[in-house]
């Protein structure tokens, strides 16, 4: 219950700030455009370049989303209010992660067709598998991102530090997402990259497991 309430609260805050949501989408679209121009106009390996572009755009745009959700909470005093309710910290964390999953998922769904069109890759038969990889990637990103964003709450230059701490942690997830998406778009055969799906799943589970006992001290630290 807490989980859903927190997720809805965060999503409502995002929905109220339409300018930010529009900026987030424009930013991710611009990243796809810039990278496709840099790789193009004749692509050597469109599947590889498209998958790298797609995930790079999502990861960079995601940092904006994570820091913005922190700012919104700080401005409205929502973080303190949440703690005062006495809700279970892990449920709060899961709620925030769910909101970030939905936000990042929306960005992914926007960027996916743009990247597909610009690079002329992908077909509908592999779309469910691509969405499956996206789910693994986005859940992992949101899980690690929510944890680090909460940690960076009290820091000076937190946007910068969030990137410095978060991106290296996300490297295994990012490499896995790019490799599996590339395999799907290239020939649809994911056997050579099956290990990377396991890496992504382990990364997701690890973030959620670590947060189960670290989110409470993080909350205390930000008090």
């Amino acid at each position: 219950m807490t989980l859903l309430s927190v997720a809805l609260k965060d999503l409502r805050l995002h929905a109220r700030d339409a300018r930010f949501v529009a900026t987030l989408f424009l930013f991710s679209t611009s990243l796809v455009l810039i990278l496709s121009v840099a790789f193009g106009p004749i692509f050597r390996d469109p599947a590889r370049e498209a998958s790298a572009t797609l995930w790079a755009a999502l990861f960079f745009a995601g940092v904006l989303g994570l820091t913005r959700s922190l700012d919104l909470e700080a401005e409205s005093g929502g973080g303190d209010a949440l703690r005062l309710t006495g809700a279970d910290p892990y449920s709060i964390y899961l709620g925030k992660t769910l909101a970030n999953v939905l936000l990042l998922g929306a960005v992914f769904l926007l960027v996916l067709p743009i990247a597909s069109v610009f690079y002329d890759v992908g077909n509908l038969s592999v779309l469910p598998a691509v969405l499956g990889v996206a789910a693994l990637g986005v859940i992992g990103y949101a899980a690690w991102g929510t944890l680090f964003a909460a940690l960076a709450r009290g820091l000076k230059a937190r946007e910068l530090l969030l990137s410095v701490l978060l991106f290296p942690t996300l490297v295994p997830l990012w490499i896995g997402a790019v490799k599996v998406t590339h395999a799907l778009w290239a020939d649809g055969n994911i056997d050579p990259v099956r290990d990377w799906i396991k890496v992504m799943a382990v990364s997701d589970v690890l973030a959620l497991a670590l947060a189960s006992f670290l989110y409470e001290p993080i909350q205390e630290a930000s008090e």
Binding site: K156, L165, P168, V171, L206, L210, P217, I218, S222
Partner: protein, 234 residues
């Protein structure tokens, strides 16, 4: 634990420094005398610094992990001091690994750097622990110890990945283990002992600094950069 540094601390530190200098001198002598490897030539001798530094890195970051858990459980300042001191030394040794690795790779693989699993994961490890120190330096509030302890735990997740990367990923160029015999093996073992004693001596010296800082903070000495306020137990 008192905030006053016990007298035996200085004595032990001096003994360890003396032992590490002796051992490092002896290992240098052994490295010079050790046979030159047939294929790589004299460059192979980098391994006598590279491997002990890598092991020292793992030990130091492992200590950071253990002390971070202990700090979150007990909230005693000295666990944070141990974690910070070990992490700083771990980063120094990780930097040595990052410098000596490419020097060896240039001769072995004909390239300074390649994106193979061990190198990539170790670079990530280095960036993460460098980030630990950036965060530590940028926080002056009481949250610093808790935040850094959490980072010390989260970042440790990468250590088994670095360790097992050569087995988990196909196409790894990095040697899985170092097999040596005779004089080369003896040289490597002595180098390892020397660098580990050096790590212990440097750790105690660095920890003493944290200890002194805590003592000054407890006295309210304004000249010392204030450590984050924490529980100082008797």
């Amino acid at each position: 634990m008192s905030v006053l540094v016990p007298k035996w601390w200085s004595g032990l530190t001096q003994v360890l420094w003396a032992a590490s200098l002796l051992l490092l001198g002896a290992s240098l002598w052994m490295v010079v005398r050790a046979p030159v490897e047939a294929q790589m030539g004299v460059v192979q001798k980098i391994v006598y610094v590279h491997v002990p530094s890598a092991i020292a890195t793992l030990i130091a970051f492992g200590l950071t992990f253990g002390a971070s858990i202990a700090y979150l459980s007990t909230k005693r300042w000295y666990w944070d001091a141990i974690a910070a001191s070990a992490c700083e030394l771990g980063l120094v040794f990780a930097t040595i690994v990052m410098v000596t690795g490419p020097l060896w790779a240039r001769s072995a693989w004909n390239t300074w750097w390649t994106w193979e699993p061990r190198l990539t994961t170790f670079l990530i490890l280095w960036i993460l622990y460098a980030g630990y120190h950036v965060v530590r330096a940028s926080l002056r509030s009481s949250a610093r110890r808790t935040v850094c302890s959490i980072l010390g735990i989260v970042f440790f997740v990468n250590l088994p990945i670095v360790w097992k990367s050569v087995e988990w990923w196909r196409g790894s160029l990095h040697p899985r283990n170092v097999t040596m015999t005779g004089e080369m093996r003896e040289t490597l073992l002595l180098s390892m002992a020397a660098w580990l004693v050096f790590l212990a001596a440097a750790f105690l010296t660095r920890l003493r600094l944290e200890w002194a800082r805590e003592a000054a903070s407890a006295r309210g000495d304004a000249r010392v950069p204030a450590a984050a306020p924490g529980r100082v137990s008797a």
